[in-house]
């Protein structure tokens, strides 16, 4: 290290990129988030053309590029498509490791939604496992209004 600087004292300028930002959720995501908060319900959108059901909902169909969609209510139960157990305390993790992340395809949906699993030991999680949504007691119209998904007993 010292030789590459050829006697120059190395300087480091420490800083942080921290800019306030507001994400306007838009009418589609707003409706989804309000349903989580007020109805403890997970909703999706169906493309009226290709009949594909998207969860979380989209305003337009990304596959057939069609603007017309209709709302669909889902039961909140589904299947684990894939998962991981994050064991290292990565900077992005909310909460203490280990955290189980999973893609969950809800019954009646054609896409899977990203969320966390809880109430299950990491070693017991399997692809294909049946899970259901557990809602948070205090809900604020956020994806965290679903506390996690847990195995269906």
């Amino acid at each position: 290290m010292s030789d590459i600087f050829k006697g120059v004292e190395p300087m480091v300028l420490k800083s942080k990129i921290n800019v306030p930002y507001h994400w306007w959720a838009g009418d589609t995501a707003s409706k989804f988030l309000v349903a989580l908060r007020d109805g403890q319900a997970i909703t999706g959108t169906r493309c009226v053309k290709c009949r594909k059901v998207y969860v979380p909902p989209r305003k337009s169909c990304p596959v057939c590029f069609n603007a017309e969609t209709e709302w669909v209510d889902l039961s909140g139960e589904g299947t684990v498509v894939t998962f991981t157990v994050t064991r290292r305390q990565r900077a992005a993790l909310q909460g203490k490791a280990p955290v189980i992340f999973a893609l969950i395809k809800l019954d009646g949906a054609d896409t899977a939604m990203l969320h966390r699993l809880g109430g299950v030991k990491p070693e017991d999680v399997k692809i294909g496992m049946r899970v259901k949504a557990v809602f948070a007691g205090e809900r604020k119209a956020r994806v965290q209004d679903i506390e996690h998904f847990t195995p269906v007993k």
């Binding site: 064991r87 992005a92 966390r116």
Partner: protein
């Protein structure tokens, strides 16, 4: 496609922490080396593309901050946010437009200056996903599990990619992390996010790479024999991970198919002599090879186990050591292109493969390989 060629390459040595250099210092060195390699001066460069990412660079409009160091002063300069192969694609398009005889493309990043987990977390949708706390490693762990579940490929087989590429890198003086390890070392290394262990993951790196693309008439004026661009194509899959079949890379299949067809390649498995692919994680080398049709679905691990992907094998993959031994995000794909150029020229020294008439370079942009860019390079026009 009209003819275009790569006539100059320049890379900085990939390092874990290049704290004696700023971004611009790295861009200057890579550009200087590419010009020397081509036997040109900066006056011979008609336009410039820089490739960067604002979050990784810690500043907005980051691409413009390295313009001067990339020799873009008083020139037409434009920027691409994403992997270097995508910047190079834009550079190629500009060259083929007829407006420019030569295009210099640079890509740089310094992973050492920030926190990759937070930066890659910010790639997730802020309304539906970001606050869940995933990052590139946990997202790719989801993909690794899906791929292994579908194909039956094991953790041991994925570990063999790490062993091969870290070993290859020992022969490449530009690489950061050449080392002799065994599958056991990989399988004993820290589990970061199942099934990905520390040695299944590429390191955090600093580096800059530059290439010079020329049209047919200008290609003849370079110092070395031009390496011809036979095909280049890119394709993107859905943004949301849950919209895709994560165990497959259909956008890579489409990009590769198009690139092969441009290059007149009918049987890629036989016709591609050497490949430099985006092995950010061990499983990805296997998955990408299969998606490109360089072997059958689920068969890459077997080929690797039999030594076919080694430097002396029938289809060497990442003889340079790949990303596994040095992963300067953004620049990484440009390094892949530059490494294939070295192979085709016969300049790869200790990691030179026997036959390198046609080579493939691949770059990735987005989480879990959302978008892919495939380049076919050849010795002959």
């Amino acid at each position: 496609m009209d003819k275009a060629a790569i006539i100059g390459i320049g890379m900085t040595k990939i390092e874990a922490r290049r704290d004696d250099w700023t971004f611009a210092d790295m861009a200057f060195e890579a550009t200087r080396k590419a010009l020397d390699d081509a036997g040109l001066t900066i006056n011979d460069i008609d336009n410039v593309i820089t490739t960067s990412n604002d979050f990784w660079d810690g500043r907005t409009i980051s691409c413009m901050a390295v313009g001067d160091a990339s020799g873009a002063s008083d020139k037409n300069v434009s920027c691409v946010e994403g992997d270097g192969t995508f910047g190079a694609f834009y550079g190629l398009a500009r060259t083929l437009s007829g407006s420019y005889g030569t295009t210099l493309v640079t890509g740089h990043s310094k992973g050492s200056q920030s926190v990759s987990s937070l930066i890659t977390n910010a790639a997730f949708d802020p309304i539906y996903e970001r606050t869940l706390g995933l990052d590139m490693i946990s997202a790719c762990a989801l993909q690794a599990n899906a791929y292994m579940h579908r194909t039956g490929v094991t953790a041991e087989q994925c570990a063999a990619v790490s062993v091969k590429n870290h070993g290859n890198a020992m022969k490449n003086p530009m690489q950061q992390l050449g080392m002799k390890i065994t599958e056991k070392d990989v399988l004993k290394s820290e589990m970061i996010s199942d099934p990905l262990r520390k040695l299944d993951c590429s390191p955090v790196s600093d580096g800059c790479c530059a290439i010079i693309i020329a049209n047919e008439s200008r290609a003849g004026k370079s110092k070395k024999k031009p390496v011809w661009i036979k095909g280049a194509s890119m394709c993107a899959d859905a943004y949301f991970l849950g919209d895709r079949d994560l165990s497959r890379a259909k956008s890579l299949t489409a990009a590769a198919k198009k690139a092969f067809s441009m290059a007149g390649i009918i049987n890629p498995e036989k016709e591609i002599d050497v490949a430099e692919v985006y092995d950010a994680f061990g499983y990805q080398e296997l998955m990408w090879l299969e998606a490109m049709g360089l072997c059958g679905d689920g068969e890459a691990a077997k080929l690797l186990g039999e030594g076919h992907l080694d430097i002396g094998g029938t289809m060497p993959v990442n003889p340079s050591g790949g990303l596994m031994a040095g992963h300067p995000v953004i620049a990484a794909g440009l390094y892949r292109i530059a490494e294939v150029v070295k192979q085709i020229r016969g300049e790869a020294g200790k990691y030179q493969v026997k036959k390198a008439d046609i080579g493939l370079a691949q770059g990735v942009n987005g989480l879990c390989g959302q978008s892919h860019c495939v380049w076919i390079l050849g010795k002959d026009r």
